[in-house]
């Protein structure tokens, strides 16, 4: 296992203040290693996007980060805690170290500026000494990188198709050669053919340039194929984290199992699709104990009362197997209590 680039430690994010606050992300810890693709999956409202925005302090009000650390390990020097970074430093940090490709391919580009202007302004903001000609040349190279003809440079966003716009966003995300790229459902707004094209391109670019990816999606089958490791979120918590192949072969948490059986597999033998009964939990009134127990087919006596801890399942060691799960079915202490 290579060195960590980004470590999220016990991050808590609320919407609103006081008693009315909704706990969207609770006590989430996650580590992204160098060159790795970490998948983050879960239903709508499970807190995956909130986690991504929260760790970059991009949450609009009323989103508040109430606790935790986000440690970034630079190439050299001491790790930085993004939560305590000054505004000016945070601004320099954003995009040059961690960039984001957002969910809405259609609305991520400013409609009144050309593609060139939007590619250049990020370069100008971080490397003010670059000349205009050099900026444009960089913008041209970036477009070439994602397979868009350089004569599109002076186009406005509305003149491009959805797939092209998302490619422009990916090009923009790579403009400053960041070490981490967060992809928040980058292909949800696109059709399936376009999805595959863009993902294939992404994999190729990652091999060429070498950045780490935090890939957020609800499409688990996509993750199984493209990511090294997968973390599953439910009700604002991580419920399982495992290497992609292990999770696919043998998911431990009943929720992961349900998610896997909600999508047709892209490869391999046919499986029956079952889906998950019920609907995602209301974050304002979370069930007691394990948040998943009202929908869980395997719920038993401790599930409704006590919340399971995210830990290595029995029979594995965290050092070698690198997987954790928060479920009473796989709790070590279950035997004793």
């Amino acid at each position: 296992m290579s060195d960590p680039v980004l470590e999220i430690r016990n991050l808590d994010v609320n919407y609103g203040l006081g008693d009315e606050a909704v706990h969207a992300v609770r006590d989430v810890s996650l580590t992204l290693h160098r060159g790795e693709v970490l998948g983050l999956a879960g239903e709508s409202g499970s807190g995956k996007s909130t986690l991504a925005y929260g760790m970059l302090r991009l949450l609009p009000p009323p989103g508040v980060i109430t606790g935790g650390q986000v440690l970034y390990h630079p190439r050299d020097g001491e790790p930085l805690d993004l939560m305590t970074l000054s505004t000016a430093n945070l601004r320099r940090f954003r995009w040059s170290e961690i960039s984001i490709v957002f969910q809405g391919a259609m609305n991520s580009l400013n409609p009144v500026h050309t593609i060139a202007a939007q590619l250049c302004d990020v370069i100008a903001a971080h490397e003010p000494r670059t000349s205009r000609a050099a900026q444009r040349a960089r913008a041209k190279d970036l477009l070439k990188l994602v397979g868009i003809n350089a004569d599109r440079l002076n186009s406005y966003p509305h003149q491009l198709s959805g797939g092209m716009r998302q490619r422009v966003m990916i090009a923009m995300a790579l403009a400053l050669e960041p070490r981490v790229v967060v992809m928040d459902e980058p292909t949800t707004a696109l059709d399936v053919v376009m999805q595959r094209q863009i993902l294939a391109q992404l994999v190729e670019l990652r091999e060429r340039i070498g950045f780490s990816v935090l890939f957020i999606t609800h499409d688990l089958s996509l993750l199984v194929e493209f990511s090294d490791r997968i973390a599953i979120m439910y009700g604002g918590r991580i419920v399982e984290s495992a290497p992609a192949q292990d999770l696919y072969r043998e998911s431990l948490h009943p929720y992961s199992d349900g998610l896997l059986h909600s999508f047709p597999a892209l490869r391999g033998p046919r499986r029956e699709l079952t889906g998950i009964p019920g609907s995602p939990p209301d974050l304002r009134a979370m069930p007691s104990g394990c948040a998943f127990h009202p929908r869980c087919p395997k719920a038993f006596e401790p599930c409704a009362d006590r919340s399971p801890v995210l830990a290595a399942p029995p029979g594995t060691s965290s050092a070698t197997d690198n997987r954790t799960v928060a479920c009473w079915l796989h709790a070590v202490e279950r035997v004793n209590t």
Partner: protein, 326 residues
């Protein structure tokens, strides 16, 4: 380019329609200008005078309405709008050219200032919502709900009448001769201060409110979050991304309000007896001065059309989505 020509063609057609209506409307009113003059002079005109008036107005010849119509359009192109009754025998065009600069100067400048200032305040209020800037909102809402004539009268009562600091009426001091010297310019500026301030107070809040609303709408767009994530400076995001997009509806509102400069300020000029087009219109209506009313209406219509064309052009410039591919 083709789009532009189509717009210009459309406005030319509208202008023609307005001129035609302007021609026919007064002719639907019973009586004629000579009769109106006879009534005004209370029987002091004898038969000869009446006959010469008919000749003077060109009403002695028995021309058909179609011929009159083409004559009228021909006159318009020569800038001839007929003779005013109230200022008889001054031509309407002369009356208008005397009063237009006053209106354009006072209302034009205040409209531009009001738009710039109000929009800028709206940008700030929208960007820093939830802070002290929100205090601005109840104040502007209150100000925008005050009827203008009341505000003007109160301003005159408090600041102009009985030894107040400002003159209460007129466009310049009766003692100075209109010319481009310091005395006259200063006098004109001094006389316009009070009406200008009252216009600003009552019109600026509209710009603040609409700009703030648009800023709020735009602030939740994805590209604003992207701009933040790109690490652009706060000012760059506010101006280049949020305000730049929020400005679009306000700009078309502004262009339309430019069209209303000429005619929409009746109240200001009446309250302050300001020698502009609005005051002239008020007097002309009172005196049944049809040629003058007709001339003023024509100017108002044309300025609204020109402002609309201007709005189209600005929009074309500001919003690439409205440009058709050539």
């Amino acid at each position: 380019m083709g789009y532009l020509l189509r717009r210009i063609g459309f406005y030319a057609f509208t202008a023609w329609a307005a001129i035609t209506i302007n021609f026919f409307l007064p002719r639907l009113i019973p009586g004629d200008p000579v009769q109106a003059l006879i009534a005004r002079s209370r029987g002091q005109l004898d038969a000869n005078a009446i006959q010469s008036l008919y000749i003077l107005f060109g009403l002695d010849t028995d021309t058909g309405i179609v011929e009159q119509y083409f004559d009228y359009i021909g006159q318009l192109f020569r800038g001839d709008l007929g003779l005013s009754f109230t200022f008889f025998p001054t031509p309407v065009s002369e009356v208008l050219s005397d009063s237009l600069p006053w209106t354009l100067g006072l209302v034009g400048i205040t409209t531009v200032i009001s738009f710039l200032l109000g929009t800028f305040m709206g940008v700030l209020a929208g960007w820093w919502r939830g802070s002290w800037a929100d205090m601005l909102m109840p104040v502007t809402t209150f100000l925008s709900s005050i009827p203008y004539f009341w505000l003007g009268l109160i301003a005159i009562t408090l600041l102009a009448d009985a030894g107040g600091a400002f003159p209460s009426s007129g466009g310049y001091d009766p003692g100075v001769v209109p010319s481009w010297d310091m005395d006259f310019v200063w006098s004109a500026v001094y006389h316009s201060l009070l009406p200008a301030i009252t216009i600003l107070i009552s019109s600026m809040s509209g710009w603040v409110l609409s700009m703030r609303n648009m800023m709020l709408t735009v602030s939740s767009e994805d590209y604003i979050t992207v701009a933040h994530a790109k690490g652009l400076s706060e000012r760059r995001v506010m101006i280049g991304y949020a305000a730049r997009n929020a400005l679009l509806p306000n700009v078309s509102g502004f262009a339309l309000s430019l069209g209303l400069i000429v005619g929409g300020t009746l109240l200001v000029e009446i309250v302050f007896s300001y020698p502009g087009v609005g005051f002239q219109l008020f007097q002309a209506v009172g005196a049944k001065d049809y040629p003058l009313v007709q001339g003023i209406f024509l100017i108002i219509t044309l300025s609204v059309l020109v402002a609309n064309l201007f709005a189209d052009l600005i929009y074309l410039l500001l919003d690439p989505r409205t440009r058709k591919e050539g």
